[in-house]
Amino acid sequence: MIEVRSSGKVRQKSAVHGLWWQIIRHWQLLFMTFPALIYLFLFQYKPMYGIIIAFKDYSFKKGIWGSPWCGFENFNQLFNSYWFPIILKNTLSISLLTLVISFPMPIILALMVNEMSNQRLKKIFQTVSYAPHFISTIVVCGMVILFLSPTSGIINRLIELFGLEPISFMQQPGMFKWIYVISGIWQGTGWGAIIYFAALSGVDQSLLEAADMDGASRMQKIIHINLPVLVPTILVLFILQCGSILGLGYEKVYALQNPTNLSGSEVISTYVYKIGLVDKNFGFSTAAGLFNSVINCTVLAAANAISKRVAHTSLW
């Protein structure tokens, strides 16, 4: 109390005192964060120390610290390897395709469903559109493979109906990115639209009524009233999506891969897995993973900075 009244030095001191005093007073709050913090250090930050093996000639016997340094040798090897241009191209093309085609789908769906006047039908439609999200990656991949089978799949029966030859979709490297993206749209669009539904519930009803008075058409109302409400949400999600441009997850790609489509389906993360955990070339694989993360963080930061300047929306 006395410290608060006095000025200058003493007040500075009280800020430090304040922190300790706060910690002592609220030690229970701090204690509540411990389980999560212990997890954070053991499973998230401790592995980060292992990144140094990207610069080492790692051997299991010598361990992370004992293995000799090798500078950028692993990176040299990576950039000069036969697979590097292929995995870079595949990762980029699948990610960009997702960004351009899959990303706008939930926005369009939310705007369309928002125009439904029957509330019960709307509810039923939404419930059904979430269903694919609750099917596991493995099962979705299994369904894709079954449907696209040249001998027994329903898609090829449809193609034959038009008098064309059946196509071995899963055996053609060029088809892979389309299979990946289209199955992703089927699985993710309904779920992805939830966040936009939420944002659309914030549309000012009086604006819509005023637009009605002025004789605006439905399309005009969507473009000039509903869509602008979604813009901040769209931007934030877009930045996040940009940040994962090389962070294409391995789960789905790996499940859809087979030796015959590998030249179109091997991406950085699956390559990291195979070189590292299958071939046990740890240093090399870590270098590839680190390259991937650094690019991701750079793109994310760049997208965030651009959005901050242009649209005043940013993640941090």
């Binding site: 706060q22 910690i23 609220h26 229970q28 709050l29 701090l30 509540m32 964060t33 389980p35 999560a36 913090l37 997890y39 499973f43 930050y45 592995p47 980060m48 990144i51 093996i53 125009e115 006047s117 439609f125 939404q126 559109s129 979430y130 269903a131 694919p132 609750f134 099917i135 596991s136 990656t137 493995i138 099962v139 991949c141 299994g142 369904m143 493979i145 089978s149 001998t151 027994s152 071995s168 055996q171 939830i194 966040i195 939420a198 944002a199 058409s217 439905r218 399309m219 940040g243 391995y250 789960e251 087979n258 990291v272 955990l277 870590t286 993973g289 680190l290 993360s293 991701n296 941090w316």
Partner: protein, 305 residues
């Protein structure tokens, strides 16, 4: 209805028609694969592979299900998945909720620092190999424990929960409790938790679905088949069998060989369809009941990401 249509003039009428048509189309595209899988799992496999079965089952039989239900691996996987999902989600909640609550309090010491530490992990991680070596160094390789705690707190879920606590528990409630000499622990367990069932359901759903569907961690960290979750067995059955197809598409076979191979593939496909139904049914039955909660969860998350 008629009156409503009268209100719609020219352009709007066209808009409503196109919009309804597209929505019906989207509805069909979403539902058709699901119905197809169910029908194919009980139909005559030959009818499925010739395209004779389009929507409804043809000469239905439960043969495939008999096979699936007598297949031991499915049951092992199911039990393991239930175990991992149940206990894993419990651990997730125990770690996430207290931390999220503490960080939602404006008087929590060091909360900015702790928050930043969590945010960083959303964008940057050690990567696959350092993570793997870390698990090995802790002696967790090939233990059930690794499936339970290797993803104990998700930064995203933590933020969603924190936002919920910050926005729904009024500060006056805290002040009143402090005046009565209530400690922070009691406050959490006696006052805050009873008011927080929506966020608890959301967290159970998010974490639970994650546990139920994950296969990659199990594939990397587990070696004993007895510890495998369902998804790893599903992977063996559903996606690793692609080669019979490749062989059929490219191979050189005599007509008799071809016919018998085709029958085998057809039969295998029927079993695959049945496996999909058996493994996905629980989720399909449960999620519509929780719908209002997860819609809410996304909304909380979107208030401030």
């Amino acid at each position: 209805m008629k009156q409503k249509l009268k209100h719609l003039q020219g352009k709007d009428l066209i808009f409503v028609c196109i919009n309804s048509f597209l929505l019906i189309l989207i509805f069909c595209v979403t539902v058709y694969p699901l119905i197809f899988v169910i029908s194919a799992s009980v139909s005559d496999p030959a009818a499925v592979s010739t395209g004779e079965m389009v929507l409804l089952p043809v000469s239905p039989s439960l043969e495939a299900y008999q096979f699936v239900l007598s297949y031991q691996a499915i049951w092992t996987g199911y039990l393991n998945t239930i175990f991992y999902t149940f206990l894993g989600t419990l651990i997730n909640l125990a770690a996430t909720i207290p931390c999220a609550y503490a960080l939602s309090r404006k008087d929590c010491p060091l909360k900015g620092l702790i928050m930043t530490l969590f945010m960083i992990t959303m964008y940057f991680s050690g990567g696959l190999i350092p993570g793997y070596l870390n698990i090995v160094s802790m002696g967790l390789l090939n233990t059930r424990l690794v499936m339970l705690i290797s993803g104990a707190v998700s930064a995203y879920n933590l933020i969603v929960a924190r936002t919920f606590f910050a926005n729904t528990i009024p500060w006056e409630l805290h002040e009143a409790a402090f005046l009565d000499g209530c400690s922070d622990f009691r406050l959490l367990t006696r006052i805050v938790l009873p008011l927080s069932s929506p966020i608890i359901v959301v967290l159970i759903l998010y974490y639970g679905v994650g546990h139920w569907n994950s296969y990659f961690n199990a594939m990397i960290y587990l070696q004993d088949r007895a510890k495998y979750p369902l998804q790893v067995f599903l992977r063996e059955i559903l996606t690793l069998g692609q080669f019979a197809d490749t062989a059929l598409a490219t191979g050189d076979y005599s007509p008799e060989d071809m016919a018998s191979l085709l029958r085998q593939v057809e039969k295998a496909d029927m079993i695959k369809y049945a496996v999909i139904v058996v493994s996905t049914l629980p989720m399909m039955v449960i999620y519509p009941w929780l719908q209002k909660y997860f819609a809410k969860g996304v909304m909380i998350g979107s208030v401030k990401g």
